[in-house]
Symmetry: C2
Subunit: 427 residues, 2 copies
Amino acid sequence: MNKIYNPAQNTWSEILKRPTKTVDDIESTVKEIFKEVQKKGDEAILKYTSIFDGTALATFEVTTAEISEAQALVSEELKSAIQLAKSNIEKFHAVQKTSKIEIETTEGVNCWQEKRPIQKIGLYIPGGTAPLFSTVLMLAVPANIAGCNEIVLCSPPDKNGKINPAILYAANLCGVTKILKIGGIQAIAGMTFGTESIPKVYKIFGPGNQFVTVAKQLATQFGVAIDMPAGPSELLIVADNTAVPAFIASDLLSQAEHGTDSQVILVSTSKELIDEVEKEIELQLDVLPRKAIAEKATANSKLIFVENDKIALELIDEYGPEHFIICTKDEDFYVNNIGNAGSVFIGNYTPESAGDYASGTNHTLPTNGYAKNYSGVNLDSFTKSMTFQKISEKGIKNIGKAIEIMAEAEGLQAHKNAVTLRLESLK
Amino acid sequence: MNKIYNPAQNTWSEILKRPTKTVDDIESTVKEIFKEVQKKGDEAILKYTSIFDGTALATFEVTTAEISEAQALVSEELKSAIQLAKSNIEKFHAVQKTSKIEIETTEGVNCWQEKRPIQKIGLYIPGGTAPLFSTVLMLAVPANIAGCNEIVLCSPPDKNGKINPAILYAANLCGVTKILKIGGIQAIAGMTFGTESIPKVYKIFGPGNQFVTVAKQLATQFGVAIDMPAGPSELLIVADNTAVPAFIASDLLSQAEHGTDSQVILVSTSKELIDEVEKEIELQLDVLPRKAIAEKATANSKLIFVENDKIALELIDEYGPEHFIICTKDEDFYVNNIGNAGSVFIGNYTPESAGDYASGTNHTLPTNGYAKNYSGVNLDSFTKSMTFQKISEKGIKNIGKAIEIMAEAEGLQAHKNAVTLRLESLK
């Protein structure tokens, strides 16, 4: 761990730099697969599934029989846990519903805003060692509340042509309308263009490796929206001597185990705490199954001492952490003033894991400084806001003249004329 | 105008195709200018302003003296019109404010969502023949309501190194914090990287030509967000024999005058109306100053007859128009059921021009079918949603077990451990 004391403000951006990766080299692969899927449809999907996942599938869609089989394989204990999480995620996202917002801006001019669901969405769930069924909950639950009528889920099959049972269980529980055993670039390309088996969708959500990330970026060039740009996960904790060093260490490590490029940062006004957390990390690291990964990630990480809360806040706001844990005496200072963070965890009994799984908040959050300009996934991510207006004869008389003058000043005579004709008909 | 009767559903996508343009050839120019601005800052800005705008500027920032001068040049009539528009835009966007949304998802688990402003935003306002001061209102007014603390506006100078007075008047009126005489690719690059004169921003808004559009796309690769992907403006009207042909024609033409690539479509259940609108277009076209542009745009446009409202709605939803005017007897059918549209205008006295200027709704809207997956600019475009959670000892006891089970099932032991340590401390 790197300990840094009282860094000068002009060194912050260097200290807070994220581990970067270049993606130029994989762009050409992604483009090629997109072209082939666009042209050949399922034939290309079959080919790349065979190459990348090592399995030859006759059909991609998961059957009702497979779902039943999966349901039997998931332990009752895990089912209950998933149901609790689902219930909390539902509650938190359901209260985000907004009703029609309406106002008469001028007498006779009625304007309103309504949110309507994005009709067709695609969810990407990675396969591999960690089956992210929790991400299924985080995406499918709000999609359902929003009222999206087509929810397609793609996840890569294993060597035996199967998807992890917990993923299937969660997908079925949360109302996914079609589950497809397709992964990687070919899944994203398929949902972008549509194939015989894969419906074309309007927006794609979900995490993935570098290939999936680049594929999602490319998808946006073909009219598909995506949830947000992706990057390695990150956690910043601000803590003082009211914090419990063992808890802080466990939170830092829970982030560090995600990947060797994960970033964890502790900012503290207490040098003692920094030293104690460092010791705790050593102790806890030893017993972790993913020790190798976590160790590498902690090597990139930083323990930063600053003089006071005000400096700490400024530094944190410049960083814009995805996850931000506050364990300080004056927690309100940070809660009220933080400008840039994805999700904020407050107090000694609020580990990041809670938000990752079961408290109800969404875990799909902006990384890489995108907390400055992007929201985490929320109910609105599955809707679009539309505006409506209805103007009466009285209304057009009230604002018509202003429109004519402005249209004329912008040199748009036909815009003016659309109002003039109406005003004249009312004379 | 192309008249099409009862098109078969499998021909819709061909009929509704937007005029497309390829941008490959200008990408390299855009990339080059980005590189140079990143490396050389103001020196590059100066160079390209001289090349593209034909003016050599000593400084880019508009001074207080220039703003006063501009204020004197704008007629009182136009000032009043702008003030009325501003007041309506303010009212409509102010009611979009949402308060903190809070819920206790499980006893002891408090979660809430708050929207906080994007701190630094950039507005791009094109120059040229049509000075889009109305767009200044549409972007700066909600930015101010959202609480963005840095609002930078870039607009190209004319040959005399000036920005149109109405743009300066509107920018000053709406609380823009810095106005810069910089246009085109170099302006977008400058706001992306920051230079000596241009602040780096987190999100860029506003329309522009093809070069600006490609530049905004490129900006997203450097961590900047943009309002939405841009395309030529478009209008679809659904009308039956309760509509006034002259009004419909004037609305179609107001869209057509935007550019030769604008698209206007009329869908109707009345062949008579279609014929009458066609005649009206001929008549009105003749007297328009932008006749040449409007004529070319109408040549690409379509008058489509369909048997009934149900078919009309399906076709419109597949198109997803930016602007959608409803002039039919049963307007509620369309209002309640339209799934994909940017902004909807209802009834004979609600021309699109009203929303373009003064009714209060925003005129920055998704084109090119993006109404299927993007919102028009609204108050939320200037904020990001952040989540917060605070869990009590009781709360972690209530959900801790579920988190442990799920983390274990995903193979993330350190995530589990962060909860286990806390649960054990409470035994």
